[in-house]
Symmetry: D2
Subunit: 113 residues, 4 copies
């Protein structure tokens, strides 16, 4: 997947509709939140087991919506998402060494800042 | 960016720590929600203008966290995120034709299901 | 509990700190979202069973934070929360008649608009 | 408003529909999140100024939904919400002394744990 290419398509889509006036990072964070709310709605009354076997078009679309907004937000803030993810994975590897973190929900449960 | 490669690294990271027991789609949706909450916190008292000029390490990390969890969730549900995004962009193009959607916050404001 | 009295105390608290400039309904909605994100974080890796037996000070504080922000938001919008809740409970009673809704997660799972 | 009375009505409403099986604290936190997502959706493309003049039935209903779920969650966890709110307001008064907090978005912006 070429992240930059998708971001460019999304930017073009927005520019053509004169929607950039609405797409401040603050507003995009709220739009992302709405989509995550819809994702929650699909899972809220399911057991964890049931949630594993859900694969319908609604969830597919919600995941796409969230993905689209996070790409758009990163683009608007000039954040290179590939670099950010790579860096975060290195931070997490140091923060959760295998021997200490193994099967450890208590530790895992602590705030991940 | 090779999405599948990142998903495989995340899967390995989780397996090594015996964390798959916690990573049901339902739980991953909640973890994603926590990260989106932290993103909101960074923007909540800023004006839209101020939000455009934020580029600090915290926001960078939150965006990475959200990206990581959405990739992980899609992987657990066997949803091909590239296909899902492509399909959703086609749906949006039909749903918001340029001439009708142009600069139109009212229409835009309607629920995007 | 006298809702209006709490709202007045919150309004005074904010006014004394010159925080009204930050408390637009839009911003309060984001602040509420941050708190709900923190609530999610406390539950995200717990099973449903485990979530029933949680009663620590953190959850207590998150619930208070959410309650405080929703009261503040209603106050800023001049919405009488007691009336709104009463009306919504009547709407729900009509929307989910006992005989149709009984034990019915599928029906219950539909969007509650 | 008699909080306990509303909580009892909500408990009866749920029991009559055999919905208690769905109302674990974990699930209620997700349901609350869905409602907060819908609230965000109503504000996401509005300016702060515009958000001050919104007073439609949708926002009224979302606020009621959020209020209902937070009362229900507190009830399920046996948390006295009146006490929790009073305690939290005392904590906030100590945490944000007037002379230091006045008009101070930077300080205010720090994580409220």
């Amino acid at each position: 997947m070429d992240i930059k290419e998708i971001q460019n398509k999304l930017a073009k889509f927005s520019a053509e509709r004169d929607w950039d006036q609405f797409h401040s990072p603050k507003n995009l964070a709220m739009a992302l939140t709405s989509e995550v709310g819809e994702l929650n709605e699909l899972f809220q009354w399911l057991t964890e087991e049931q949630s594993k076997n859900v694969d319908n078009d609604e969830i597919r679309q919600e995941i796409a919506d969230i993905f689209i907004y996070i790409l758009r937000l990163a683009d608007k803030l000039n954040i290179n998402i590939e670099d950010a993810v790579r860096e975060k994975m290195e931070i997490n590897a140091k923060k959760y060494p295998i021997d200490l973190a193994k099967g450890n929900a208590t530790k895992y449960n602590k705030r991940d800042e």
